[in-house]
């Protein structure tokens, strides 16, 4: 139980989670294109990577405002 020895509050931990959930798969999309996957899959992955930045930013701002300290 010494993985996260920071005693974070719930909001701080959620702000941390929001930070890590905004993945940007530029290299993943490049690999998908090289491997000739169905275009539908690469469109979905690419579109999701664009929109999840916005969601993660909203979530992070919400939890950052409410985080203590």
């Amino acid at each position: 139980m010494y993985v996260f020895p920071y005693s974070w509050s719930f909001t701080t931990a959620m702000a941390f989670g929001a930070m890590l959930s905004a993945t940007d798969p530029v290299s993943v999309v490049a690999v998908l294109r090289e491997m000739n996957v169905p275009p539908r899959l690469s469109h979905i992955v690419e579109g999701e990577s664009l929109f999840n930045d916005g969601t993660a930013m909203v979530l992070f701002t919400v939890f950052k405002v409410r985080a203590p300290g």
């Binding site: 920071y6 959620m14 702000a15 989670g17 959930s21 905004a22 690999v31 469109h43 999701e48 993660a56």
Partner: protein, 161 residues
Amino acid sequence: MTAVGRMLSGGNDGWRGDPSSGGLFILLAMLTGVLCRAGLRELRHRLNLPFTVLVLIVGMMFAGVADNTDLRAITDSLTAWVNIDPHHMLFLLFPALIFGFAFQISFNVFLREAPIILILAVPGVAIQTLLTGAAPHTHTHTRRCLSPSRVVYSVCSLQCC
């Protein structure tokens, strides 16, 4: 201390360089990418490596060299990028990403896939945030019986069942 170490330990408080020197780095990055692509095409029979992996390795080598030896303008340029304000990073890269996506996708394809994209991008990211945040939270509050993240974990495991 190296440039990356400085960034991780204290942010950009101590850095008083010229931010306009960063332009050289963009040119060098483009040159590196082109050289990697060309080299991979030449050596494709002997070197079976994905392009992105090669770029990562070359970039790490480049950063190591530029960090430990004084390459004057190149090191200045790299330091300017390492000490960039994170908000500027977003505004520098995001327009290019959106443009790249909008340029190659057709609007009809996007409309057809929009429900899946939006499901993955809004509730998906929210679930991911809860799960990623729940891991450090449960680690720090293991003694409390009903912490919010434990409830989240219980709900998720029920969903999996």
